[in-house]
Symmetry: D2
Subunit: 272 residues, 4 copies
C-alpha cells in the first residue's frame, strides 16, 4: 500500500500545484491513500467547503487541519457533512466534526487518519498522547485498520518526535505539520513506523512561512501590525512524504521526501 502525505497547503499557489500535479501522481505512483493538511488552504487561513471538494476531487482521501481549523467559520458547519475532513482530535468534547476517521483507501483498504495538536507553544488542548492512544486502541493496526496515519500538528520538534516514538510500531506514519518547513529527517523508526518531523508546506517558499514576506518582516522590525498577511503567489512546491507499507503489517518499508515544483531541491520516491 502506498501513501502520500502532503503538508499544509497555503493559499491559491498551494492549491494550484495540488490540482495540477496530484492526479498524475496518484496515477503514476499508484497511490492508495493521499492525506493533505488543509488548514491554510483558504487564503492562508482555514478551509472552505468549496476548497474541501476541490482537494477531494484532485485525489485527497482525507484532509487534516490544525490551529487554523476554524479560521473560515463555515468550517464549523460544513465539517459535519464532510466525512473526510478531520480536525484535531484533542479539542474539548462537543467540538464539531471528528478528530479521526476510518476512510476507505483507493484500493479498498481501511485507513485510520488521526489529526492531533501538540501543546508546546500552542493553544493548550487536551493531552495529545492520551487522545491518540484512545484512537489507536479503538481501531488498532492490522485488526481494524490496514494503515494508520497520524498528523501531529505542532511547533516543537521534541513533541513531534515524542509522538513518533509513542506510536512506533502501532501506526504506519507519524508526520508533523505546522512549521511550514520540510525536515530532512524522514526515517523508519525502530518499531516500523515511518516518521518525519515536518512535512513542510505546499506553497511558495519565497516567503515567510508561505506569506508575502513584507508584512511579517515589518512586524518583526517595527512590532506594529501594518496590513493583513497575504499568501505568496509565486510558484509553489508540493511538499510531503511518501511511504510504502508492508501489506501484512501495515508498517513502513520505505519512506521518502517529496518536493515537486518551486524553489526547493526536488525529490521524489523511488518506488520498489
Amino acid at each position: 500500500m502506498r501513501l502520500l502525505f502532503i503538508g499544509d497547503i497555503v493559499g491559491r499557489a498551494g492549491r494550484a500545484i495540488v490540482q495540477n500535479k496530484l492526479p498524475g501522481l496518484v496515477r503514476d505512483w499508484k497511490l492508495d491513500l493521499v492525506v493533505i493538511n488543509g488548514e491554510n488552504a483558504a487564503g492562508g487561513f482555514g478551509i472552505t467547503e468549496a476548497i474541501y471538494h476541490e482537494l477531494i476531487d484532485a485525489g485527497a482521501d482525507a484532509i487534516t487541519l490544525g490551529n487554523h481549523s476554524w479560521d473560515q467559520r463555515e468550517a464549523l458547519v460544513f465539517i459535519e457533512r464532510a466525512p473526510r475532513l478531520i480536525r484535531p482530535v484533542n479539542y474539548p468534547k462537543g467540538a464539531p466534526g471528528r478528530g479521526a476517521a476510518l476512510v476507505e483507501a483507493k484500493n479498498g483498504k481501511r485507513a485510520l487518519v488521526i489529526n492531533v495538536m501538540g501543546r508546546i507553544f500552542m493553544d493548550p488542548l487536551d493531552d495529545p498522547f492520551a487522545a491518540v492512544e484512545r484512537e489507536i486502541a479503538a481501531c488498532p493496526l492490522r485488526e481494524a485498520a490496514d494503515a494508520i496515519v497520524v498528523d501531529i500538528h505542532c511547533e516543537a520538534s521534541s513533541e513531534k518526535q515524542a509522538m513518533g516514538y509513542f506510536c512506533d510500531g502501532r501506526a504506519s506514519l507519524v508526520v508533523g505539520t505546522h512549521t511550514h518547513v520540510p525536515t530532512a529527517d524522514h526515517r523508519i523508526m525502530p518499531g516500523g513506523t515511518a516518521f518525519m518531523t515536518d512535512a513542510g508546506m505546499t506553497g511558495d517558499y519565497d516567503s515567510v512561512i508561505g506569506m508575502v514576506k513584507d508584512e511579517p518582516l515589518s512586524r518583526f522590525l517595527r512590532k506594529i501590525p501594518g496590513s493583513k498577511f497575504e499568501p505568496a503567489a509565486g510558484p509553489a512546491t508540493l511538499s510531503g512524504v511518501a511511504v510504502e507499507l508492508d501489506d501484512k503489517t501495515g508498517l513502513a518499508v520505505t519512506v521518502s521526501a517529496v518536493r515537486i515544483g518551486g524553489l526547493l531541491e526536488q525529490t521524489a520516491p523511488q518506488w520498489g
Copy 2:
C-alpha cells in the same frame, strides 16, 4: 571560498563524528571556513574549554552558541580567552565574550561570524534584527569582510526566515539552529544569500532532539520530571550546510545540505 556550517553538536556522539570526519572534509572539500554550533556539546548542555579546543583542533574556525551558552558555567570565564567562541550578540550589554567575530579563514580571508538569538518562544533578549544590523553595518560584506555567516538560533521558522530576508544580499549565509532537525529548504535567496531554516543537530537521531528518548517521552506522558536528560549515544549524523561563494561578491553560488553518518538520508555537496 567554501564554507561548511555544522548544526548543534549534541554530546559525545556528536563530538565523535566531528572529530572523525571534519579533518577529512576540510582536506577533501578544500574548505576555507568551518563554523560549528556548539551549545549542546558538553553532555547536551553548554560547552567546556576542553571541548572548545577539541573542536578548533578538528577544524572549526568559529564556534557559535545559543540558549545553552552558559549551561557549563566555566564558559562565562573562558570565553574571554577563546577568541573564536561566539555567543548570541543580543545579550544585554556587559555579557561576557562577543556576539560577532571577524575570524581569519583557512585561506587568509576575513569572515564575520555572527550568532544571534530569536525571541519567539525564547527567553527575550534584545532585538535580533537591530543587533545584526549593527554588526553588518560595522563590517560590511566586500568592504570589511570577505564572507559573513549569521547563525540565527531560534524556535520559530518565521523568525528565521525573516532574518534571512533581512540579511539577503548582505550576508553570505544565514542559517538557523536550535530545533535540532535539519530542514530541506536550503536555497539561495533573491539577493544572493544562502539560507536554510535549520542546520539540524549533529548527534544521534534515534532520540528526542538528541536526548535518550525515555525521559522526554515520560515527561510528555506523565508531566513529572523523572531523571536527567542524557544525550543519546548511538551513531551520530553530522548535519549542516555547505556553501560555495563568489569571491568577488561574497555571495552564494551554490548551497547544499550535508548529512553524513547515522540514520538520516545521506547527502553531500557537489562542488563545482
Copy 3:
C-alpha cells in the same frame, strides 16, 4: 461555617508566621476549615513530609499544590500517605496522590477541596474546566459536600476569573494562587460563590515573589543565571481570604481579605 484560605507559603519565613499565628486564628475566629497552598513551603520549591505535618499540626485541614508540586521528589511518594495533600487534579492519569479530597472540617462537616492548574503560560495539563466539572458533579455542594473550595493555580487573571464564573453557585470559594501577589478583588459572584483572583503569598514581600531580590533582578538585567533562588527571610505576611458560609446553601455570606504581619497593609475579616 468559616473558611480561611492561605496563599502560597514561601520558605521558612512563610512557615514561621503560619505556625505562630494560625492556631490563634483558628481559635479566635472559630475557623471550621483551613486550606493552605504549600507548593513553595520547602525553601521556595515544593513540600516535604515534615513540613506537611507541621502545617497540619498548625491547623491546616488541607494543603494544595501547583506547578512546584514535585520539586521535592519525596512528595511523589509521601503524598500517598498524606490524605490531606492535594495536587492539581488535571495531571495525566496515573499521577501520584489525588487532585481533590473530601476532608472532614473541624466542625465535622464535609469539605471538598480541589486543586487545579490553569494552562495559559503554564505547562499544559488536562482541561482544568472539564476536570473541575467532573469533581463537582461527583460530589455536589449540599448533596455530598457542605463546602467546596477550588484553588485555581495559574498565571493569567482571565483564566482564574473564568474558573470563578464556571463554578459560580456550585462552589463555596474559588481562589487563585501562583502569582504570589494578593489581589484586592475579593467578592461574592452573582451565584453566591466567593472569589478572589489571587490569594497572594505567605512570605516576605520585600522580595521578588518571595525570593531574595538580587538574583531575580540580576537575571532580568543580565540574562545569565548567577546563583540559586533563595527565599527572602524577612518578616512574612500571612496572606489569604476568609469566607463565612451560609450553612444551608454552602454559599458565601461574606468574603474578606486577610493580611497579617510583614510589609503589607493589614486587614482581617469582621465576622458577623
Copy 4:
C-alpha cells in the same frame, strides 16, 4: 505633591466613571498629577483621539498605553499631535510617538512619565530595564524632574517587582498594569519609591478582565472563537493608586490604593 495613577480604562463603563469622578477627585484631593492607562479605553481595544481629549479634559495629565497601543490604528497618527500620550518606551526605534514625556503637573512642577512593556509572556520588545535606565539617567529625579512615574505594563508579577527595585530611590512611583486586577501590595520600597504590582482596571468587574464573560468563558471551554469580545457595561470601579510625595526628594511619603464605585471593596487615601 499628590499623584493619582488610574489603571487600564476598559470601554465605555470605565470612561464614564473617570469622567464622573475624576474632576471631583482632582479638586477634593488637591491632585497635582493624574496619569491614566488608556490602552483599553476604546471598546476594550486601544484609544482614539476623541477619547484622548475626553480623558485629558477630565483631568489626566498623561495617558499611558501597552500591548493594545495601536489597536485603533488612528493612534499611530494622532499620537504625534498628542503630547501627553505615551506608548511603551521599548518599541523598536522609529515607532510613532514617545515612550516618556516630561509633562507639566497641575502645580507647575515637572513630572517624567514613562511607559514600558515587560517581556515575560508578552510580545518581546527591547530590554525594559535598559530603556528605563536611559530615560531616568537623561532626566533624573530632583535634578530634572520633580516626580517620576513608571507604568510597567506586563503579565508577570516577578518582572514588575524587579522593575520596582530597579527604580527604587530613583522614581516616585512604579506601578504595574495589564492584568486588570488590583493588587493589595502597595507599599513604599526601601529606597523611597512607591510600588504596586498592578493598579487594576477601571471597568466593570463582573466580567472576565473587563469583558462580558460569556465569550471568554466559551473560548476556555470550547477552544473555538465565537463572537467578538465586548466590554462589560455594568457599573465600573475606578481602580488605582494614590501617592503623596516629599517635595524635596520626589520620593513617596504615603501610598494608598484607590477603588471607587462598582463591585470591589471601596478604599481611598487618607491624605496627611
